[in-house]
């Protein structure tokens, strides 16, 4: 366990900060794609330690936050189908639907259960042969292989009562969406460490190749993030743009081939609706026809619910990096973690919850 201290070493961090300040002679902004990075950056207080020339913007890397309102409403509505046990990661439970949350559905009699792994949901299906167990598949390439594995396991066990409601998404299309939208001017990208562990750092080569923009895949400790910013500043200052991997203890250029194989066995590329972006082509993971038996969208007639994003909530813009959470008029007033208006205040990867929990003291 010694590895943690090495990547939290304050002396090394200071040195990196000093060098960043020296190199950053022109204004530059970097987007941290991943919501885990947003939290880590706030937790370590990194934004205020960087020179004023270097700005960090939070991005769309919060799986719960980018789920469209329609998907969330449908997921919640699934819990009303008689005889269904709806299972989910904890993050989804308090996300506001148009009229209510899963937590409220559960309190009014729906059977909603938080699981720590999709395999726990499969186990529930085994133990409850008379019930339909649905798992809410939320997440990027990070969680998708585990969910795919749960479908393969259900198939192996010959289960007839397990299915997945897939809201899974690929990350690169969202990054492309931001760049093509042209609303923010970025000098580089802090690449998502856990996503890249699965898809590989090479999956981000389109950034330098097509957009002339450096990307550095980062770990989640303070020194990891500073090393990443250091490399980005170095590249910008020297007019270079490449993919660098600053998280070599976890990420390979080609990714985790075994995980990718499982993911691709079960999921195929589809269009997907994102909060803040609308429909992004080829950005979603749909369950292949071969596994339609385990696809909740096929198994159940999907409840049609009128959906409306929370009035006044600016999550969409937060996810595109164009507003910071405190710029939302509801932030810390009508919208708090106890009474969240939008998903960005609920999820542990959401930028609003990070700003609320770890805001600057002045």
């Amino acid at each position: 366990m010694r590895f943690v201290d090495e990547f939290q070493n304050p002396i090394l961090a200071r040195k990196l900060l000093d060098e960043i300040a020296e190199m950053a002679t022109v204004p530059m902004s970097f987007m941290e794609f991943c919501g885990g990075h947003t939290h880590a950056i706030m937790q370590f207080g990194i934004r205020q330690l960087l020179p004023s020339q270097v700005k960090l913007l939070s991005g769309p890397g919060c799986p719960v936050c980018v789920s469209s309102q329609a998907d969330i409403d449908q997921a919640i509505a699934l819990s009303n189908i008689p005889n269904v046990i709806l299972t989910s990661f904890g993050d989804m439970i308090r996300v506001p639907g148009t009229t209510y949350t899963l937590q409220e559905a559960s309190a009014s009699g729906s059977d909603v259960r938080v699981v720590y792994s999709p395999l726990d949901a499969v186990q529930l299906a085994v133990e409850n042969p008379g019930k339909e167990v649905i798992f809410l598949g939320v997440g990027f390439e990070t969680t998708a292989p585990g969910v795919a594995a749960s479908i393969l396991e259900a198939a192996r066990l010959g289960l007839n009562n397990y299915s997945v409601f897939s809201m899974h998404k690929y990350t690169p299309p969202a990054m492309k969406g931001i760049l093509n939208g042209g609303e923010v001017r970025l000098s580089g990208v802090i690449g998502p460490g856990h996503v890249a562990t699965i898809i590989g750092s090479d999956a981000w080569r389109f950034l330098p190749e097509r957009h002339g923009m450096p990307v550095v895949v980062s770990g989640f400790e303070s020194v990891d993030i500073l090393l990443t910013v250091h490399e980005l500043v170095h590249q910008v200052a020297n007019g270079i743009a490449t993919v660098e991997n600053a998280y070599t203890r976890s990420v390979l250029p080609e990714g985790n081939l075994a995980a990718l194989k499982i993911m691709n066995e079960v999921f195929e590329v589809s269009d997907a609706d994102w909060r803040g972006f609308g429909v992004l082509p080829l950005s979603g993971m749909a369950i292949r026809a071969k596994y339609a038996h385990y696809d909740a969208k096929v198994r159940f007639s999907m409840p049609q619910v009128p959906s409306r994003e929370p009035p006044g909530c600016r999550c969409g813009e937060v996810l595109r990096g164009i507003v910071e959470p405190p710029e939302c008029p509801l932030f810390a007033k009508a919208c708090t973690p106890d009474h969240p208006k939008g998903p960005c205040m609920v999820s542990d990867e959401g930028a609003c919850s990070a700003y609320y929990l770890y805001g600057q003291s002045n």
Binding site: M1, R2, F3, V4, D5, Q8, P10, A13, R14, L17, C34, G35, G36, H39, M42, Q43, F44, G45, I46, Q48, L49, G61, C62, P63, V64, F89, G90, D91, R94, Y116, S117, V138, G139, F140, T142, T143, P192, H194, V195, F220, E221, S222, T336, P337, D338, D348, E349, Y356, L357, Y358, G359, Q360, S361, N362
Partner: protein, 338 residues
Amino acid sequence: MYKKQRVTMAHGTGGRMTQQLIESVFAHRFSNPALDRMNDAALVQVEKEGHLAFSIDGHVVNPLFFHGGDIGQIAVYGTVNDLAMMGARPLWIAASFIIEEGLEIQTLRRIADSMATATSTAGVQLVAGDTKVVERGKGDGVYISVAGVGVVPPHLNIDAANAQPGDVILINRPIASHGMTIMTQREGLEFESVLASDTAPLNGIVADMLQVAPHTHVLRDASRGGLGTVLNELAVASDVGMILSEASIPIEEAAKGACALLGLDPLYVANEGVFIAIVPPDEADVALEALKGHPFGTGATRIGMVTNQHSGRVVLHTVLGAQRIVGPLSGDLLPRIC
């Protein structure tokens, strides 16, 4: 093969089976004059001076047994510690068990054994109890609620609202060990060898400290919500600000590593045997020495101070030299999914 005995609905009827369960599992393990009478309520003799402290806490833990403790032990210590945090000397407890049909009687015996050990370690008597059985699927094995009574000496004035600017914030031992033990065990991660829960009765160490620091303003165990959430509650209750130094907050390597792996902030991880003491500056040094002199306080240290600035808020000076807020946690701490 010998068939495992299990709790059945018949054990919950209140009839002879219930009696048998109570006698075979509980009664002899906790024998004391007040309990042995088996009346509808226990009669106890109270002291003439001071206040009675009275508390209750319910326990729902999955898994029931974990490295360094079990549900029975934390049920006893949880209530003992709630009393101790008012400066009370805990004396009597009463326990209610909601048992799920199908639980092995042997499991219940293990829990009762552990509770019996815990009561004698903490120096309290279990004087009343109750069992109920619920249908299979309606409970997580067993839920235990423990109520307790203790006596607070008249000269103490400990209250969540008593923190004063200038006070020193002390902690008795490293944070996050308990929560990370539970979480890694639940997630099937192999940390068992190095992580153990810090479950402990705190009345002894608190008594030692209050001997030398009788003007202690606040005591609080940093259980649910972790150190960060608990300090927020105190800052609001006392209408003061708090300043913490990240570098001085103790945490063991294994817990830190597990937090990094799951993407959790140790400041919000639950503890069992960890408490904070907010003491006036002139008693801070002796209080700290007293804590360090107790086995549950070997890691005791000063983590921050109370201020009259940014009232109701906790501010952390990070290791890197930044200043940020430590907000209160809302809901559960969840492993990251991104």
